[in-house]
């Protein structure tokens, strides 16, 4: 396995439905409509909806994150083989039971179709199915890093069984197969990208180097690194080295 090459195989989901348990094939996904594990004591409930971006004029809590579903099959973050789902993305929203929204600066609660611009790099496409995970905390919760991370972790835990099945899909059934090579262009001007990201507290944080692409487990908060610079290759970056907690 070449350490400078990342192979991403994408599986395009034609149908996403609710079922009694998780079931993934090369073109369809079934998920339960509730968590199959015990929720943290601080949580009142977590609800799951399947949403068509072309028909989503209903009220939501503030959008905490938009996430892809992707998993490592061979190698580690940045090289080897990654399987990813297209045609489906996840939106995480959150508030407490009295309506206090989980955000740092500015809330996006309101009607979903008015609060997100679909089709951008950071948002689902209009043709995608959106798995909308809404997490509601009990009132008088403590708004701190630990609480917010727990909310993100709960959503991640709900998605992990999809990743476990995604690892098992046959590579030859993939709809897209892209190889990214970290290339060098000797003799050309040497250029780097510097990305300044949030690192000050609750809902103003980023997790780096999760075990799964765009996951949470085993990731390290940039705050716990005292915001010190970290170097990533382009392939590590596009393999989901960062999970935003903003």
């Amino acid at each position: 396995m070449k350490k400078n090459t990342l192979n991403i195989k994408a599986f395009s989901m034609q149908s996403v439905k609710f079922g009694t348990e998780y079931h993934l094939t090369k073109n369809s996904l079934e998920i339960p409509d509730h968590a199959l594990f015990d929720l943290d004591d601080r949580l009142k409930e977590m609800t799951i909806k399947l949403v068509d971006p072309r028909d989503c004029h209903f009220e939501i809590n503030t959008i905490m994150d938009v996430m892809p579903i992707s998993t490592k099959v061979l190698g580690e973050l940045g090289y080897g083989l990654t399987h990813t789902l297209t045609g489906v993305n996840v939106i995480l929203t959150g508030a407490d039971e009295t309506g206090v929204q989980l955000h740092e600066f500015g809330s996006s609660d309101g009607y979903l179709d008015q609060k997100i611009m679909f089709g951008r790099d950071g948002t689902p496409d209009l043709d995608d199915v959106v798995i909308l995970i809404d997490v509601v905390l009990k009132e008088n919760f403590e708004f701190n890093r630990d609480t917010c991370e727990m909310v993100f972790r709960t959503a991640d835990k709900f998605l992990q069984p999809i990743r476990e099945e995604l690892k098992m899909l046959m590579g030859r059934d993939a709809t897209d197969d892209i190889e990214y090579v970290d290339t060098q262009n000797p003799g050309q001007p040497k250029v780097a990208v510097v990305k300044e990201v949030a690192g000050q507290g609750a809902m103003y944080d980023n997790i780096i180097f999760p075990k799964e692409p765009a996951g949470i487990e085993k990731g390290i908060s940039i705050i716990d690194m005292d915001n010190m610079p970290v170097l990533l290759t382009a392939n590590e970056y596009r393999d989901g080295a960062i999970h935003a907690l903003v």
Binding site: N185, Q188, A192, V194, E196, M228, P229, H243
Partner: protein, 159 residues
């Protein structure tokens, strides 16, 4: 101030990052990598992390860099300080940040004119619509073009 809904970079945004996509695929530059740096609260640390970024770029023998931020307000201090630290090492630097009508720099210096505005909203404000004011491919392309001109203007020599 901080990171509002319209400029916040979601996990999916990082996954598709347009800046990394544009710069890493350009055959006219030798792409070194992405330096990810946080925005501490403490002023001493703000200066320290900016300095560490510049030392790292210098050690990589970088000719140029593009810096981007997903927030504005207090993080502008980190942003401009890091630009100045990088510039002081003789490395060409350009920036990308939300400015619009409400997030101009409080203090300008020789580097602020090399910062491109990523605002997309007609009113130039934080609209609280997720994805609206995010950096996109066009912004990345413009910044890379500007950096190429700046490197030429600065007489950068490739080692």
């Amino acid at each position: 101030m901080g990171i509002g809904p319209s400029t916040k970079e979601t996990t999916l945004h990082h996954f598709h990052d347009p800046l990394v996509r544009e710069v890493s695929n350009d055959p006219d530059v030798d792409f070194l990598g992405v330096i990810l740096v946080g925005t501490p609260q403490d002023n001493y640390l703000k200066n320290l992390v900016g300095k560490r970024v510049s030392v790292w770029l210098d050690a990589m023998r970088a000719n140029g860099a593009i810096i981007s931020a997903d927030g504005w307000g207090n993080s502008d201090v980190d942003f401009i300080n890091t630009m100045a630290e990088i510039g002081d090492k003789g490395i060409s630097i350009v920036g990308l940040k939300f400015i619009g009508a409400q997030a101009g720099f409080v203090v300008e210096n020789e580097y602020t004119k090399f910062v491109e505005d990523i605002n997309k909203s007609p009113a130039g404000i934080e609209t609280e619509v997720v994805g609206e004011n995010n950096l996109d491919s066009k912004d990345a392309h413009k910044a890379l073009g500007l950096l190429k001109l700046k490197m030429r203007h600065d007489g950068q020599v490739v080692h």
